[in-house]
């Protein structure tokens, strides 16, 4: 199912060495990342925290291959992707990375299954195979019976599940979630975290950006950014389990 075993043997999924990112805004240079080194192994579940402007979003964009570092190197699954062209990066995103966003970012007036098919479209997967894999991914997030619903016909939690299915459909080695619970109520947030935990237990590497510590505590490891630098990197000894939280809520 997952490609976590297809990369260089034993190499971390994410290996950042001295990542720096400088944005130019007119005459002003903004030093968004000032040298971040971090390595994330396969099957890890990492929460990235930090205030806005701490550099966590820049870091996410870099490891998501949406942007290139100004200095430093980034190895995705053992491959240096820091110097790839725009189109090569698009290809890497399409084949190895799945994105889940805060605002769901589904195409409007488009059915769930068509949204999920989107990444496969750009990989040249044929129509029938595309539909089959999209339906399979939707079933994995519990929406097997909502293939033809459009975003406006789905609740926020369901929309986020469609987005997760879209992130899974290309069988990525890395799932990046940027504030995935930002637009959801607390119960739905826990449900979505449950899906991430389940996927992680099945072997998928998950990196999650959040500013809510109770959401971050669903991960196994929390890294915190401040002023473009890594502030702390701690493993969670007793992480929250969405399954148990939901059960507790039911009995209460």
């Amino acid at each position: 199912m997952d490609r976590s075993d297809s990369g260089a043997a034993g190499a971390p999924v994410v290996e950042a060495r001295g990542l720096e990112k400088i944005y130019r805004m007119g005459d002003v240079e903004v030093h968004a990342l000032r040298g971040v080194s971090l390595s994330i192994d396969a099957r890890e579940f990492v929460a990235v925290m930090g205030a806005s402007g701490s550099g966590k979003s820049t870091f996410m964009n870099l490891i998501g291959c949406l942007d290139r570092p100004t200095r430093g190197s980034y190895l995705l699954n053992g491959r240096d992707v820091g110097k790839l062209s725009r189109d090569q990066l698009a290809r890497v995103r399409g084949e190895q990375i799945g994105f889940v966003f805060q605002g769901f970012n589904l195409l409007p007036r488009t059915s769930a299954v068509e949204n999920v098919e989107l990444p496969l479209l750009y990989q040249g997967v044929g129509g029938r195979e595309r539909r089959r894999r999209a339906a399979e991914a939707l079933a994995r997030v519990g929406l097997g019976d909502r293939l033809e619903h459009t975003s406006s016909q789905l609740s926020g939690g369901q929309q986020q599940r469609v987005a997760i299915a879209r992130a899974l459909v290309n069988r990525p080695i890395l799932l990046l979630a940027d504030e995935p619970t930002g637009n959801l109520d607390s119960r739905t947030s826990v449900e979505v975290m449950g899906i991430f935990q389940e996927l992680n237990e099945q072997g998928l590497t998950v990196v999650l950006v959040t500013h809510e510590s109770d959401i971050a505590e669903h991960a196994r490891r929390i890294v915190t950014f401040k002023d473009g630098l890594l502030l702390s990197d701690v493993a969670i000894s007793r992480r929250r389990l969405a399954r148990e939280e939901l059960r507790a809520e039911q009995t209460a």
Partner: protein
């Protein structure tokens, strides 16, 4: 992404915004309809002019008596009577390399009577060459020949209008006796209908009779002067040769000195035909230019809508890029949308244009000319307009930064 997939994606995107797609198309629809209608109307009008010109006769020269000044007073053209039958015969015999036929013509108005019907019409005294020169077939009967001319025989050929004025429909006409200015004449032939002349006159309201019959019996003249001659050159390229040769032959026959003004004039109808053709061509070109401009305007409409669409769908573009869409995939997607808009608009415009030009042709009573090259060319031009119009918006879309596009509200 392959072509079929991006076509489907484009169609889906256009269907999702039906009203905007329709509005975007409207410009191209009108443009293509305008091109189709104007081009086919222009070509139809040209064909009609050509038809009317042809009905005058092919490669035609008219030789008319000239104006002469007598005691300082210039007479109008045709006032003299210095063209003769002998001139006509000489032209026919001596210039046979460039001249195909010469018809001398003398006209007179005459009251014609058959039974209890009567009608005033124009009688043309001429020879059988007239039918050849005017390119005018007979609908029935036969023409008169040299003997009838020599003997001033009382025979006539009737135009369709005269037939309809004198005879009950279906009644026998050939062989009947009619009276032309009190002279009893036998109808030997009926002219095919020729319709209106370029000037709007009814060309069928005419009777043809041998030249000598008209001059000697109807006009009552013993003179040999000819009202005018119609000369048909052997070919279009021989027209100017014929004109030059006739000029020098007539100058020689009329014993004119080198400096003297000619006492005759020659009108080149081929030149008139060319001029008329050129003016209709100019109008057609003008119409085509207007149509081409409307095609450009239609293209601008598409470009406009595509630009708005790209801005509005910035987030969608960001999503597509995030999930692996490359710049060229995005470029191709938006380009395909523009081309689909143009092509569908072109197809609608084409059918609309065909309808309009058929309707106009029916109203204006001219032939509809819907040439396949024009249709294909118009559709291609519409598609090209789509590519050009769509390129800049598509390029803008493809160059968006995925991070900023995803953040776009």
């Amino acid at each position: 992404m392959n072509a079929a997939a991006s076509l489907r994606t484009a169609l889906r995107a256009l269907r999702k915004n039906k009203l905007r797609s329709l509005l975007a198309m409207l410009g191209i629809v009108i443009a293509v309809a305008a091109v189709m209608a104007t081009v086919s109307i222009g070509q139809g009008a040209q064909a009609k002019v050509a038809q009317q010109m042809e009905s005058l006769g092919a490669n035609l020269l008219m030789v008319l008596p000239g104006s002469i000044a007598m005691h300082g007073v210039a007479t109008g053209s045709g006032a003299t009577q210095n063209l003769t039958r002998d001139d006509a015969t000489a032209i026919e015999h001596e210039l046979s390399t460039s001249v195909a036929a010469v018809a001398p013509i003398n006209r007179t108005g005459a009251q014609v009577v058959y039974g209890d019907q009567n009608w005033f019409t124009q009688v043309q005294g001429t020879t059988a060459a007239y039918l050849q020169v005017r390119n005018w077939p007979l609908a029935g009967g036969e023409a008169f020949g040299r003997e009838e001319d020599a003997s001033a025989a009382k025979v006539c050929i009737l135009g369709q209008t005269v037939v309809s004025k004198l005879f009950i429909p279906g009644a026998p006409v050939i062989g009947e006796q009619i009276r032309v200015k009190q002279v009893p004449c036998k109808v030997v032939g009926i002219l095919a209908s020729k319709g209106q002349s370029f000037g709007g006159a009814d060309q069928d309201d005419v009777i043809l009779m041998p030249w000598s019959t008209v001059v000697r019996r109807l006009i009552g003249s013993q003179a040999d002067s000819v009202g005018q001659m119609m000369v048909s050159a052997r070919s279009a390229s021989a027209v100017s040769d014929a004109e030059r040769e006739i000029t020098s032959l007539l100058r020689q026959r009329h014993r004119l000195s080198e400096q003297a003004e000619p006492d005759f004039q020659i009108r080149n109808l081929a030149e008139m035909q060319d001029a008329a053709k050129q003016s209709t061509e100019t109008i057609a070109t003008l119409l085509e230019a207007v149509a081409a401009i409307s095609l450009i305007v239609g293209g601008i409409g598409i470009a406009n809508v595509m630009l708005v669409s790209v801005t509005e769908r910035t987030r969608e573009i960001g999503i597509r890029m995030a999930v692996g869409g490359r710049s060229r995939d995005i470029l191709f997607q938006f380009l395909t949308e523009a081309v689909v808009l143009a092509a569908v608009g072109g197809a609608i415009g084409l059918s609309l244009g065909i309808g309009v030009s058929k309707w106009m042709a029916a109203k204006g009573n001219w032939p509809t000319l819907l040439s396949a090259p024009v249709m294909i060319g118009t559709l291609l031009a519409a598609g090209l307009a789509g590519v050009i119009a769509g390129f800049y918006p598509a390029l803008r879309a493809s160059r968006l930064d995925p991070i900023e596009a995803l953040r776009f509200e």
